[in-house]
């Protein structure tokens, strides 16, 4: 519990820094006023709006004003939707979340057996195939894979719907697209982690007890091998969310990724800021969760404090 509190405290400077980075990035985008007003607006109108938005204050004042609002949950208005930016972002969150979780599940379903198998059958043909495919999985750009999946599985064979959201079937193709790169990374990780564990002394002990190889692998090796994988995979959350930007656009999945791409293109910076913030918090939360899982999986840590 104390650990948990202290990690949360640690998050604060990170969030501050992120807000800082994002704020200044966004301010660099140039004059938001020109995008908010019609092209025909007069200079006076521009100036008025600028004044009312506080854009004439020194930048640090603007930052503090902004932060004061953010702390109260106010990330500004989206000028594209004329709504509080945070509402728009939160509205999309469930869709992205669903997609991220299901691709993680798909990745796990692929990667865990593949990683274990290729570690056990190290240097065999099967290992070569698995390692090779995982490299391939990494090498394929997301959008390309997505389009190919649509062309083959949706258009050619009509197994899954092409795009959109609503049913579980809609979730399959985007999840595979997003999950592939993660699965590739995970397979490689599990393989090497597993190899290391399999060479450790307690595995030798387990074998010397006369345990079946399946028990040795699934009980003694797997849990130890997964411990580092959990943490490293948590670091992939950011990559995963990054992947949604592209995958959601390809599959017109109504999540934060698509929103972000369009918000950036439209310079709807309030939304960009809010979304970046939410994403950062999500990533941090997932790292925390991973840490807790890690603690759960590894008794050595649990008892230390």
């Amino acid at each position: 519990m104390r650990y948990f509190l202290s990690s949360i405290l640690k998050v604060i400077p990170v969030l501050l820094m992120i807000s800082f980075i994002v704020f200044f990035l966004v301010r660099l985008t140039g004059d938001p006023v020109s995008l908010m007003l019609p092209e025909t607006a007069t200079d006076q109108q521009r100036e008025d709006l600028r004044q009312s938005l506080g854009l004439n204050d020194p930048i640090y004042i603007q930052y503090f004003t902004y932060m004061a609002d953010v702390i109260q949950g106010d990330f500004g208005e989206s000028f594209r939707y004329n709504q509080p930016a945070i509402d728009i972002v939160l509205e999309r969150l469930p869709a992205s979340f669903t997609l991220a979780i299901s691709s993680m599940i798909i990745a796990t379903i692929i990667a865990v057996p593949a990683g274990i198998y290729s570690a056990i059958k190290r240097n065999t043909f099967a290992d070569l195939i698995i390692t090779g495919s995982s490299v391939l999985g990494k090498a394929m750009p997301n959008f390309w894979l997505g389009i190919m999946l649509i062309l083959i599985l949706a258009v050619q064979f009509s197994i899954f719907p092409v795009s959109g959201s609503g049913t579980i079937a809609h979730l399959v193709l985007p999840s595979i697209t997003l999950g592939t790169a993660i699965a590739a990374e995970m397979t490689r990780l599990i393989r090497s982690s597993m190899l290391e564990v399999l060479g450790s002394e307690y595995i030798r002990t387990a074998r010397s007890k006369g345990l079946r190889e399946t028990i040795v692998v699934n009980k003694h090796a797997l849990r130890n091998a997964l411990i580092p994988v959990v943490t490293i995979m948590a670091l992939q959350t950011a990559t995963l969310i990054g992947g949604t930007l592209i995958t959601e656009t390809v599959f017109s999945w109504p999540g934060m990724g698509q929103l972000l791409v369009q918000a950036v293109n439209a310079r709807d910076m309030a939304v960009v800021q809010a979304a970046t913030f939410i994403i950062a918090i999500l990533v941090i939360l997932s790292n925390l969760t991973a840490d807790l899982t890690y603690r759960f999986l590894d008794p050595r840590i649990k008892y230390e404090d």
């Binding site: 490299v135 750009p141 997301n142 390309w144 670091l235 969310i241 992947g243 930007l245 656009t249 941090i284």
Partner: protein
């Protein structure tokens, strides 16, 4: 006669290696690792292709020929040997574009890794070696960067400053340094506690000397491995940027741009996107193989 002197004379049990044989040993090892060899060959080919791109390419990459639009590769009906891998929607030679695109793709990959590596190496060393508040600040910075997906970061910055070759390289570098900083820091932390660093301090070596002669050379091998692998990641990232319209801009050409432009033709003129895609895949494959082999080579744990 003293027993010790006896011992001294007969110490040399290991055969003497000459420098030359070390080099040849590396190659022998390389040859033995089949994937490593494949990787090296691929990477060398791509580099050669990039260096001599303007000489090898049969056409200029911007040369359009509207009467020869979307010709298939030579082995297909309608294809010709003039355009071995076919032409794209403006009648430009796909092969030439791939060859010339390799320049930009590799340049983006390598240069941005150098930018990121330099930042990461510096901050990682400082953070790991000096610790204390510097470490805290740098690590929080690292956390912040880790919490924002790379591609989002790039999207925002590039939207702001506009995509160009230089800005793409810098942005890729500025957003991916974190990996190196983390790695270098953790290596530095562990090396700092090794006995050989203690012994260097015991002979009175300065911090600068310790970083330069003790820590740097010992992080460099992991660093090279990660950097190599990241060239691959960067090449893929660049293609994603192209998909979002913020990658390399015409008339320059990169594989990512070709792949992204060609995606509209996947169903009808597959060769427009497939060949640059293959180029990316093969190169990435080569780099990863090479990187994995380097890892095995340079990692003392697996070496002995």
């Amino acid at each position: 006669m003293n027993a010790n002197t006896q011992v001294e004379q007969n110490m040399d049990v290991k055969p003497h290696h000459k420098e030359q044989s070390r080099v040849s040993k590396v190659f022998k090892q390389l040859w033995k690792s089949k994937t490593g060899t494949v990787g090296l060959v691929i990477v060398l080919c791509v580099i050669l292709m990039a260096v001599f791109a303007d000489i090898i390419a049969p056409y200029d990459h911007t040369e359009t020929n509207v009467s020869a639009r979307l010709l298939p590769p030579f082995w297909m009906e309608g294809g010709s040997f003039n355009y071995i891998l076919g032409t794209d929607n403006l009648g430009r030679d796909v092969l030439s574009r791939i060859i010339i695109g390799s320049k930009v793709s590799l340049l983006v990959g390598i240069a941005s890794v150098i930018v990121a590596g330099a930042i990461g190496l510096f901050l990682g060393l400082v953070s790991g070696y000096y610790g204390k508040w510097i470490d805290q600040v740098i690590m929080r910075l690292v956390d912040s960067f880790l919490a924002i997906p790379n591609i989002l970061f790039m999207l925002i910055i590039l939207a702001v400053i506009g995509p160009s070759l230089t800005s793409i390289i810098i942005v890729l570098g500025v957003t991916t340094w974190v990996i190196y900083a983390r790695m270098v820091r953790s290596e530095t932390l562990s090396i700092k506690e090794r006995d050989y660093v203690k012994s260097a301090r015991a002979i009175g070596a300065s911090d600068y000397r310790i970083i330069k002669k003790y820590i740097l050379p010992n992080v460099v091998s992991s660093f090279i491995v990660i950097a190599t692998l990241n060239v691959a990641t960067t090449i893929i990232l660049e293609s994603s940027l192209s998909f979002l319209g913020l990658g390399i801009q015409s008339p320059d050409v990169s594989w990512g741009l070709m792949l992204s432009d060609g995606r509209d033709y996947l169903a009808t003129s597959w060769w427009v996107a497939t060949f640059p895609g293959l180029a990316i895949t093969i190169t990435v494959l080569g780099i990863i193989f090479l990187g994995d082999w380097l890892r095995d080579m340079l990692d003392p744990k697996t070496k002995s």
